[in-house]
Symmetry: C2
Subunit: 504 residues, 2 copies
């Protein structure tokens, strides 16, 4: 049975429900990165929050933050707990830790259909958010269209705090583009950024809350840009002849302005895995392989998924434009069937990690972004860094890669890698930490982004200066101090450069 | 002859060229708002910078800022001097003022055609910037596509500092969307934000420099997102039946994602002026008027300009989609001829102010932004506030309005208004100030944006808190102090809420 360490004494926290139940504390102790899984599966979670508070209103957050600031209690805002960067883990040190679960600050507050603006509580989960918009526009429904892989478990406030991107951000924009207004509470006072279209009223402060990771204040409400729900999303699969040549095709799709909803290009190893898994399920697996071999694509194939949203005519027109742009690269069009499989499983992949751990295999993901001209060197550097972390008893360390988001000036790269899990929990975490350090060092050395959509949290904080420089850290530190003079809010994320990966 | 006040003594400023020539100081004393014109035309410019420095490199800016900080000299960065918000006027007070003209930090430093990234000195003027891109892409040319009305006289650094929008920002994005990297020098140190596609490496600090108005540091270089130059830009004119009904059509164009390059909708009074001026030039003016009357559009006509960019086929396809979306509103299509007139004159309108002043008429413009659902009340409130400022000897105070930029969730409104110029220069400025206060009060009262693309500067600073709240001011103040601890950089802009309109 789980025996939680005794919680610290807490000051009087006002009218908010505060739980010190051991299981509640345990459920709020870790995020969703590999070390979180390892610690939870092996019963070796060392630090728990001392209490979990569930505020019902901004006033209650205000009282909680005032009491915490006064008493030096550290406060960790909690949305869905799906951070993969140590963002929701209790900060190290002796100070008591209070986790603020925002689940009671959920739901739709206002919907302006004419402007396409919806105001939600920050604790609203993805599916609840979309459900609340289902009756808009005379029953057609509205959508925010933000579908990160964590969609089922994560919240609007968490998406904003972590600068999230979703699977359809190519068409709908990243969360940074979708946020029109932010309401937050900080120890130094309230923040109300009204939902306005782009303004020249000084720097756009919305953007400072996107990626703020709970460091500046607790986001409790946000106004987001919604749109009428498209009739359909069709995802088609294409086999391209090699990852590198296909990058050029993807770049052209973006530059030509083909209005795709999503786009994802796997490298050759990831394509092999997808085809092995996908075709194994098919009655015609062997035939399909033979057909592809005849078309001259096999081991160099790079799987490209293209999604278009709208009514049937719009979808067909968009995909036809995509076909026309890609034609010179002689792709093999596989149609909508693999796309349907992807759509069915789009939020499921993270759950595979448990099954793999049962088999003694660890897996983790990481992502970065870079300009088009440096994308291949960045991919090569990260692959090489991870492979160099191969243990003596491993034949190889498999690294899969895909381009997950494309922009006019560059794209993001998403890596999935696998290794044999050491039997001891501490050793399993240390191995994970070693690989993460190698990849992060490589990313910093080639000048790519610290993260494209997972965020900085605690795990990437040692490498943030490589991206934003001393001037960038000075900026963020000043903002944090202005809103949180005593530094009680998530002091371990974003601005704490100590490498604590091994101690996770 | 102009007799400049004697300049203050300045400390040793290092190796930079520093001029104390009276005419040089005068040319750097004022921006381009109406009181600037009045003061320059009447020889009543009261305050001049004490010197104008022209740094050639970031090192020189560093030395200048160190010396200025040490001696308490105020520093005003100067791009093209086209501020209409008092942003380049010497700050009030007794401290000496040094204006930093960035004209020698101009030109293209690097061009990455694959990524579509170009790095320029901040002092690069609009035409020079576009000219430097003319040979890219095998002679086809690249474009930034940023064309504010001040294009011919303003600089890249100024566009970033003032959060500029251009006439084709609908298609190409605002300057906020175009900036990929920023290099700046502040008294506390350098800032280097590398050109990366969207990242989750904390809040997007690029956005903090967009709209920074010289308050946080001196932007000396920037990397911007460029694209292949479109073959053609075609602007067509449409007469809609009333401004309010037409707003709905414009909103649909944006929501349907019709990829227009530009879009501008004039209200009925502005349309009357445009048609009077435009048709007066036409040999067929009377015929055209008769024809329009037959079609049932006359005094309720609202002129809509639609621009599409690309090759001929793309342009035609985009405009055909626009026609299809607008068809239910029964517009009258006028074709490309009025659009060509607009394209020819697109940067000329500000020069008309001088001719009007010669005739004893003052004119000024102001702009704001609001969600679609509040656009009409905002327009009405601003019109009413300005009209209420009519003087006893004026029959009416004409106010023209157009929608200048449209977004998914709202749009900007741009007002042009006219009044009889009082003979005395101080009275002329006081009259201008009275109207500006009335409009700014009205905008703040209805919760619209302080500014859509002119910026805050000194003139709008008293109203900024109405938009971003005490929490927003606290944020910006913290950033300013972190980069400029002694407050020497443009202390009168953005964060100084004192109303000095009457003293301009």
């Amino acid at each position: 049975a789980f025996r939680a360490p005794s919680p610290a004494e807490l000051p009087e926290l006002g009218p908010t429900d505060v739980s010190q139940d051991p299981l509640d504390r345990l459920r709020h102790a870790r995020g969703q990165a590999l070390p979180d899984l390892v610690r939870l599966r092996t019963g070796t979670v060392a630090r728990l929050p001392d209490a979990v508070a569930r505020p019902r209103a901004a006033d209650e957050i205000e009282a909680l933050l005032a009491a915490a600031s006064e008493a030096g209690v550290r406060v960790v805002p909690w949305g869905g707990g799906t951070s993969v960067t140590g963002g929701v883990t209790p900060p190290p040190g002796d100070a008591p830790v209070l986790t603020l679960d925002l689940e009671r600050l959920a739901g739709l507050h206002a919907l302006d259909e004419v402007s396409g603006l919806a105001t939600f509580g920050a604790g609203t989960l993805g599916p609840a958010l979309e459900a609340a918009l289902a009756d808009a526009y005379g029953g057609r429904g509205a959508t925010l269209g933000h579908f990160p892989q964590s969609f089922e478990l994560s919240t609007l406030g968490g998406w904003i705090a972590a600068a999230s991107s979703g699977q359809e951000s190519l068409g709908n924009g990243r969360v940074a583009d979708l946020v029109a207004g932010v309401s937050a509470v900080a120890p130094a006072g309230r923040i109300e950024i009204p939902p306005l279209p782009p303004s020249a009223g000084g720097p756009d402060l919305r953007r400072l809350w996107v990626g703020s990771e709970g460091r500046f204040g607790v986001i409790h409400r946000a106004a987001v840009r919604v749109r009428p729900r498209p009739e359909t999303l069709r995802v088609e699969a294409v086999l391209m002849r090699g990852f590198e040549p296909a990058l050029d095709g993807v770049r052209r799709l973006v530059r030509e302005g083909v209005p795709l909803a999503l786009l994802r290009l796997s490298d050759e190893p990831e394509t092999q895995v997808a085809m092995t898994v996908g075709l194994a399920k098919s009655r015609f697996g062997a035939l399909a392989r033979g057909w592809l071999a005849l078309r001259g694509v096999a081991h160099d194939a790079a799987l490209l998924l293209l999604g278009a949203a709208g009514d049937e005519a719009e979808v067909e027109e968009t995909l036809e434009r995509a076909r026309s742009v890609l034609r010179p690269l002689a792709p093999v069009w596989l149609g909508a069937s693999p796309g349907r499989t992807w759509q069915r499983d789009r939020f499921r992949h993270p759950y595979l990690r448990d099954a793999l751990l049962d088999d003694g295999v660890s897996t983790e993901t990481l992502e970065t972004a870079a300009p088009w001209s440096r994308l291949v060197p960045v991919a090569d550097a990260v692959r090489a860094a991870l492979r160099a972390g191969r243990a003596d008893d491993e034949h190889e360390l498999p690294v899969l890669c895909h381009l997950s988001h494309a922009y006019l000036d560059g794209a993001s790269l998403y890596f999935t890698y696998f290794w044999r899990t050491p039997a001891d929990a501490d050793a399993a975490v240390e191995r994970w930490a070693d690989l993460k350090r190698r990849a992060s060092d490589a990313i910093a050395a080639v000048g790519a982004a610290t993260s494209h959509h997972h965020g900085v949290g605690s795990y990437h904080a040692p490498w943030l200066e490589a991206e934003i420089g001393a001037g960038g850290l000075r900026t963020l530190d000043a903002v944090a101090r202005a809103h949180d003079p005593r530094g009680v809010l998530s002091p371990h994320v974003l601005l704490d450069p100590v490498d604590r990966l091994g101690a996770q």
